[in-house]
């Protein structure tokens, strides 16, 4: 056992007795920052399964130029995290994974991952975040499937350009977090599932809609804001408990709330919201 560990054993025990004072006793361990830059050219591989795991820190994704499969710049504390970077059998794994659950989020906030994903490569993209501030732009990526799982994170997803691939399903699993997704119309997804625990959720459905879609939102506690463009028809069904609904410009018929253009709209979005506590706001944009 190293000196620091031995000392830490006693210190951690003493810390139980002195909540505030013990902070002075625990020695500050120097962090070992490591920066890794990876890139890979796109080859003749077909669809690529992209698995991104990121435990803590800042995370940013943006599209890369054609010809590049990905480019990643990663800065992390190598004492607490292990880097993930592999490409095998059509599966690309990137990110960092925590060695233990015991790390100070404040200290780890300097961890950073900047990722560029290549356009033109069909991708089944799955991202898993821990305590992360994520800023993700999926614009122009060829996504055949999207799955995003977040813990206690603050995530912003933007689909700034249309997805050239038709996507069967996109899934967002949001923990205790603030989650904003914009231009979801560009996702080109047939089904969008959002499963949120506690937090603020904002889903904005602008974009280049190519087909009608179904949106399922399952929310525990928090606020949900749904923002639709006026040119799509929206039907909303809610199954809620102690949840308010503010659905401007929608008419309730039976169990559903309809936008005025529901019948006539070329694109129809069928929304189901299952919420326990909180509020739902429906807003409209041009």
């Amino acid at each position: 056992m190293g000196t620091a560990l031995r000392r830490a054993g006693l210190h951690s025990a003493l810390a139980l007795t002195l909540v505030a004072g013990s902070a002075l006793l625990s020695g500050l361990e120097a962090q070992s920052w490591r920066t890794v830059t990876n890139s890979r050219q796109a080859g003749s591989e077909g669809e690529v399964d992209v698995r991104i795991k990121y435990a803590a820190g800042q995370f940013e994704v943006r599209p890369a130029e054609r010809g590049l499969l990905y480019r990643m710049e990663l800065t992390y504390d190598e004492d607490h995290f292990d880097p993930l970077s592999s490409f095998r059998n059509g599966t690309l794994e990137l990110g960092i994974d925590g060695r233990s659950r015991n790390f100070d989020l404040d200290d780890d906030n300097e961890s950073r991952m900047d990722l560029e994903l290549g356009r033109g490569v069909p991708m089944d993209l799955r991202m898993e975040f821990g305590a992360v501030q994520a800023d993700v732009d999926l614009g122009g990526l060829s996504l055949t499937r999207l799955q995003l799982t977040t813990g206690a994170s603050e995530s912003r997803i933007d689909v700034s350009e249309p997805n050239p691939e038709a996507m069967r399903r996109a899934e967002f699993e949001v923990g205790a977090a603030s989650f904003t997704a914009t231009n979801l119309g560009n996702l080109n997804a047939e089904i969008l599932d959002v499963d949120a625990g506690v937090g603020d959720l904002e889903l904005e459905f602008s974009g280049d809609w190519r087909r009608s879609a179904r949106v399922n939102v399952d929310m525990g506690l928090g606020s949900l804001t749904l923002i639709f463009p006026r040119d799509v028809g929206v039907r909303l069904e809610k199954d809620t408990f102690l949840t308010s609904l503010d659905a401007d410009e929608m008419t309730k018929r039976g169990d559903y709330y309809y936008s005025a253009n529901w019948e006539s709209a070329h694109i129809q979005i069928d929304v189901t919201v299952d919420a326990a506590f909180g509020g739902i706001d429906v807003e409209w944009v041009r």
């Binding site: 006693l10 830059t37 890979r40 010809g67 970077s85």
Partner: protein, 568 residues
């Protein structure tokens, strides 16, 4: 550099650079399909993956330089080589594929490197150029000859690589070329060189792994390594002829200079001797350095130990501060908690451990319950920080109560020099108790000064200390829970400790006795010299033996029913 290996390196490196630079510069960089650059305080590494699946890994790690896993040298963090390598990686961070390959191939070791660093840098440069340049097409097809010469001479890149990667050949060549002028050199590797009758080669000749057949003229020197020299009639060498593991067949011919047979064994022995001497010197200096390091290490251990002890003292001081506050403002609660622990230590431990394990679920459950109830939201704000703080305070209070009990136990033992620990004085017993717990890390730190030899004992003491401390904390926490923070005396009063437990739990009888004795002593007319104690220790429960006025048993007469004269 006069050492043969230095010369060898320079010769090989210079040769390779001189011969390959034109070829490489005309070549095309290999496609890099993936790259990874990793930089940290003790690492600067580059990994390239090529389209054919091959890879190149160059790693500066912990003072050592590796190429594809093989150590090629050493560096020191921040030295010129390390700085140059990191600068290269910094420049190429944002590059990929062709631009990356181009930048890496263009890298050249910086000036001003020390001898060893020059060798390492050369190895890196070669590794980069070899890996990043197409090698499929033999260079000889693209570049027919380096120099027009009779008989034709072709040098392929592969041959050069074979040459420089063959240590024996390099040694031979280094010995054979030592001291020769090679401004104009005709080179033949693994093939014969024929200079026919009437032909003249202007300059020197180096034939490696092939035969030299000479019927014409060589105006310079001729060196044959690992083959044979056939000196035929009409052949003329105006300079020296050197043979390294080569045979000479003479059928006429003239050598105007010396004919020297370079003995590789001698050269090898010489090199070995030098290497041995160098290694011995390094080991000698290494030993000296090791002694220095040992000294530093020893001092480091001492420093580390003293630092640890200082930390322990600071911890001790903070705990004393808390103890002073607690004993001053909540003595009764500490009293009840301590009694609870004393009367029910096992129960306290179980409750404490259970409480600690239940803390997190209860906390989370509370958050959830409060979050889902509208009126609970304000409470939630207090709950989230409140429960951890309250639990921490409870653990601290319990720990101090346990410390006091331990201190009283120490007082009962009447250790020499510890007579300042008085059971009548809460603070002194708490100090003693905390001192007991802090003794473990202090001893561990002292043992740590002894270095690795005492490491095992240090580990044992540390482990024991943690276990004892955790037991105290959990028990104290449990006692706090059982006594409801020192307000409930159910367990504290569980035993009539006034009489049944004369040592640990006789605080009140002792106090009563002491107070009675004091009263007696202060009464007007008291002659004696005050109550006489059986020992000098104020804490002795047996207290007064006899006084003129009569208390006899150390128990307040009013309490025990005596009349003050020893009669009921």
């Amino acid at each position: 550099m006069s050492r043969p290996d230095s010369f060898l390196f320079r010769a090989a490196f210079g040769l390779v650079l001189a011969l390959t630079t034109p070829l490489l510069s005309a070549g095309q960089e290999r496609a890099v399909v993936a790259n990874e650059i990793a930089v940290s305080s003790d690492e600067a590494s580059l990994r390239l993956e090529f389209a054919d699946g091959e890879a190149l890994a160059i790693q500066f790690q912990d003072g050592m330089v590796f190429v594809d896993g093989d150590q090629v040298g050493e560096y020191e963090r921040g030295d010129a080589l390390d700085a140059a390598w990191r600068a290269l990686l910094g420049e190429t961070l944002s590059l990929s594929d062709g631009a990356l390959a181009e930048a890496l191939v263009a890298w050249f070791p910086p000036d001003g490197l020390e001898d060893n660093a020059v060798e390492v840098a050369g190895a890196l440069d070669r590794a980069l150029e070899e890996a990043l340049t197409y090698q499929e097409a033999p260079v000889e097809e693209a570049a027919p000859a380096l120099q027009d010469a009779p008989g034709g001479t072709t040098v392929s890149l592969n041959e050069i690589i074979r040459l420089v990667t063959s240590q024996d050949r390099l040694m031979l060549m280094a010995s054979a070329l030592d001291g020769l002028e090679m401004d104009e050199l005709e080179l033949a590797i693994d093939e014969d060189l024929v200079i026919g009758e009437g032909q003249e080669l202007d300059g020197s000749v180096l034939v490696i792994g092939g035969d030299l057949e000479l019927s014409g003229t060589i105006t310079g020197d001729a060196v044959v390594v690992g083959g044979s020299a056939r000196l035929l009639d009409g052949g003329l060498i105006e300079g020296d002829l050197r043979l390294a593991e080569a045979r000479l067949f003479r059928d006429g011919g003239v050598v105007e200079g010396r004919i020297a047979d370079v003995d590789p064994a001698t050269t090898r022995d010489m090199i070995r001797d030098e290497i041995r001497a160098e290694v011995a010197q390094s080991i000698g200096s290494g030993r000296a350095e090791g002694r220095d390091r040992g000294g530093r290490s020893f001092l480091g251990n001492i420093g580390s130990g003293i630092g640890g002890i200082m930390e322990n003292l600071v911890t001790f001081a903070i705990l004393l501060l808390v103890a002073a506050v607690v004993t001053n403002f909540a003595p009764e609660r500490v009293d009840v908690i301590a009694e609870t622990f004393r009367q029910a230590p096992a129960r306290s431990m179980v409750v404490g451990v259970s409480g600690a394990f239940l803390f997190l679920p209860v906390w989370v459950l509370g958050i959830v319950v409060l979050a889902v109830s509208i009126i609970g939201i304000p409470v939630l704000i207090a709950w989230i920080p409140g429960l951890p703080v309250i639990s921490g305070v409870a653990a601290a209070l319990g720990f101090l109560a346990v410390s006091r009990t331990v201190g009283e136990w120490i007082a009962d033992r009447e250790f020499q020099g510890l007579d300042w620990i008085r059971k009548s004085h809460d603070f002194s017993t708490i100090v003693a108790g905390i001192g007991f717990f802090m003794a473990f890390p202090v001893v561990a730190n002292i043992l740590g000064m002894g270095g690795p030899l005492l490491g095992v004992f240090r580990g044992m003491v540390t482990t024991l200390g943690v276990m004892v401390l955790m037991a105290a904390i959990f028990s104290g926490f449990g006692a706090v829970l059982l006594s409801r923070g020192g307000r409930r005396r159910v367990y504290a009063d569980g035993v009539d400790f006034d009489f049944d437990i004369p040592t640990w739990s006789s605080r009140r009888p002792w106090r009563s006795a002491w107070e009675t004795a004091e009263k007696t002593r202060r009464q007007p007319g008291t002659t004696d010299n005050g109550p006489r104690w059986s020992t000098d220790d104020d804490d002795d429960v047996e207290a007064p033996v006899e006084s003129a006025e009569g208390t006899t048993d150390g128990i307040d007469d009013e309490e025990d029913g005596n009349d003050g004269n020893g009669t009921p």
